[in-house]
Amino acid sequence: MKLRKLLEKAEALLVPKERKRKAQKKNLKHVLKKLRQQEKSLLKRLETEPSKSKSAKIKEQAALAHAQRQKGLQALQSLQQPSPD
């Protein structure tokens, strides 16, 4: 293992704030993955849905998953940089 990675691991282990940030990042990635999967499956369903009212409903759900994912991505970006203190 490279020294930098080793130091990162040690930091995550020893600094509680850093540990919390890493855990948040991991959980956020998990949630984003689920949201991406959901959005994809909704868009796939939309292609084959004959009913107009149902299509509108699916579209709404896909838009919601997309908006949540955008919000999550922004949160992830701010978590990517370690806090200055």
């Binding site: 948040q24 959980n27 949630v31 709404e60 919601l64 998953a65 949160a75």
Partner: protein, 611 residues
């Protein structure tokens, strides 16, 4: 009456014993200090049950051999089968493990208790353990006075071990000096009558001391001081094993059906093992001699031979009973049946869970889910619908259109009997249990309590809604009927969507889909405003009707909002950090508004138009 006389009789016998013999006083004090040590040890280990033990138990009970190993290892480490039993009963009553896994743990715990005999016979009698006890007590008590929970836990464990050692020392000393003045061995009874008589004494001693471990220590110290014969010591050890089940049975009387089944399994296991051990006592002692010879135990080292016997005897029980485990569990399920419960009775809240934070949180979650089940039935009937129809695959609109007959329902009575009482029990349980919890566990409990309050609020709103809804369900004015049908359909949809999210479990995306209900709710509210103005302008509904509709749409909004809030807490079952992240991704009011389609100026839905 017998129970009332029991305690004074014990006091009188002990006081008389202390008066005639100072040595007896020393032995009894040794037992008392030993028992105090066990209590401290249990308390210490409970400080670490806020997650670690529960997680371990959850992961190690998916296979029978794992349950067995967990029973052996945890009892060996904690030196207390009763703590392991309490945790097992708590897990069973909270529905976290199966009865088979619970029985496996109890079987393992029986074998685990034998390590106590080994430790005492192997080391306790050979070294001056009192010399270790003193510093342990001093350091332990200093730690007990610390604020941090884990330090307190270590303190309890350390002082508990110190008290155990000190108790053993007093018992040892007591028996040594007893030997000079009085020879108990003169009362030895040989042969089968002796085994049976001393087994009975072992049962009584264990029931009185509430600990087979203490009985065993007493037997070993007495045996080391040659105050009892080896043969009688074997009888006492068998009796101690039966006695411990009686303590478990007394403890399980207040437990739920699974706790009673577990105590039943414990009794069957120990009774069968004891019967076999008594029946084949001479063959077993022969086996003990052979095994002792193999491992180099001297033929006159009776204390270690007793430890060998104890292990063989309990190991034999496992070998005999393990193949019978599944039929035994089936038998217990057939014989010990659950009481018929009312909807208001708590099913998972057991006082044994109070000391185990994670289990207590899980029990509250399961009970709040039951509260939701009761409440959703009342809400469905308040809408003049039936819950199974709502949760079926058929179209909600069709279901609403079909259900034209108002369901006669005393909402107050249903609320009082099915919901309020159960919520009261949940709140009471939370108040009793949150003192032993970490801040995050307390937060979780408070969130669950708030979820329960949301359920109550949604029922209250349905109650207000029910009156007009029943009236307009059969109204001759089709416009108002359609509006109320829309409210019914919306709320039925909310119940269906919540059920779908609940069934998908801890899938993060499923929980986040609850935001779509909020959007639909806002959309409906905005559309209604437009429709209501048009309906009034065209005089399609009367002014009182429009006021009713405005009020009732507000109640429907309240029901939806509260149910969604409840669902976000109750149906999200992942780790607390994951739930926190889910909440952060969930959209706020402003973001939800942005997703709403742009308002379309529409006219009122008239009876002659297609809806």
């Amino acid at each position: 009456m017998t129970r009332k006389l029991f305690l004074p009789s014990i006091f009188i016998i002990l006081a008389y014993g202390f008066w005639i013999s100072p040595d007896f006083k020393e032995i009894a004090a040794g037992v008392a200090i030993f028992l105090f040590g066990m209590l401290a040890l249990e308390e210490g280990f409970k400080a670490f049950t806020g997650g670690v033990l529960e997680k371990l138990l959850r992961q190690t009970t998916n296979k029978l051999w794992k349950s067995l190993c967990f029973g052996v290892v945890s009892t060996s480490v904690m030196q207390s089968s009763s703590l392991v039993s309490v945790i097992t009963i708590s897990f069973l009553s909270a529905g976290l493990i199966s009865l088979t896994a619970g029985v496996g743990i109890i079987f393992g715990a029986n074998l685990g208790t034998t390590t106590g005999a080994w430790l005492l016979a192997g080391f306790g009698l050979k070294i001056d353990i009192a010399a270790y006890a003193m510093p342990m007590l001093v350091f332990g008590i200093i730690l007990v006075f610390q604020k941090a929970r884990h330090l307190k836990g270590y303190g309890c464990i350390l002082s508990g071990l110190g008290a155990l050692f000190l108790g053993i020392h007093f018992m040892k000393e007591g028996f040594e000096s007893f030997k000079g003045s009085f020879d108990l061995a003169a009362y030895a009874v040989s042969g089968y009558p002796g085994v049976l008589l001393f087994a009975l004494i072992g049962v009584i001693a264990t029931v009185v001391m509430q600990s087979s471990h203490a009985t065993l220590v007493l037997i070993i110290t007495a045996l080391a001081a040659q105050q009892i014969t080896y043969e009688n010591a074997l009888g006492l050890a068998i009796g101690a094993n039966i006695g411990t089940t009686i303590t478990a049975i007394i403890g399980s009387l207040s437990a739920n059906v699974d706790g009673r089944r577990l105590a039943g399994a414990h009794l069957i296991f120990n009774a069968v093992t004891a019967a076999v051990a008594i029946g084949f006592i001479y063959q077993l002692t022969g086996a003990v001699d052979t095994i002792s010879g193999w491992v180099g135990i001297a033929s006159d080292n009776y204390t270690l031979k007793l430890a060998v016997f104890h292990s063989i005897f309990n190991g034999l029980g496992i070998v005999l009973m393990l193949p019978m485990l599944t039929p035994m569990v089936r038998l217990l399920q057939r014989v010990i049946k659950p009481r018929t419960r009312t909807a208001a009775e708590a099913r998972y809240l057991n006082s044994a869970n109070i000391g185990l934070p994670d289990t207590a949180v899980e029990a509250v979650r399961k009970e709040t889910l039951r509260l939701y089940d009761n409440a959703s039935e009342v809400i469905a009937e308040g809408l003049s619908l039936h819950l199974p129809d709502i949760l079926s695959a058929s179209s909600i609109e069709d279901t609403v259109a079909r259900s034209r007959k108002p369901v006669s329902l005393d909402m107050n009575e249903r609320y009082e009997s099915n919901v309020k009482q159960l919520y009261g029990k949940i709140v009471e349980f939370i108040s009793n249990s949150h003192s032993t919890m970490s801040p995050s566990q307390s937060d979780e409990l408070f969130a669950l309590r708030a979820a329960g309050r949301d359920i109550i609020e949604s029922i209250k709103d349905t109650k207000h809604l029910h009156k007009n809804l029943s009236r307009y369900l059969t109204s001759e004015n089709e416009n108002i009927r359609q509006e109320y049908d829309q409210i019914r359909a919306n709320l039925a949809n909310v119940l269906r969507q919540l059920d779908a999210v609940r069934r998908q479990g801890h899938d993060s995306a499923a929980i986040l889909s609850l935001d779509s209900i909020k959007i639909a709710m806002k959309q409906y509210d905005r559309d209604l405003e437009v429709r209501l103005s048009a309906l009034m302008r065209d005089r399609l509904i009367s002014a009182p009707m429009s006021i009713s509709l405005m009020n009732d749409s507000g109640y429907a909004y309240g029901v939806t909002k509260n149910l969604v809030k409840m669902g976000e807490v109750l149906f999200s079952t992942g780790e607390s950090q994951l739930r926190e992240v889910e909440r952060s991704v969930s959209l706020d009011e402003g973001e939800l508004e942005e997703l709403l389609p742009k308002p379309v100026i529409s006219t009122a839905r008239r009876t002659d138009e297609t809806p």
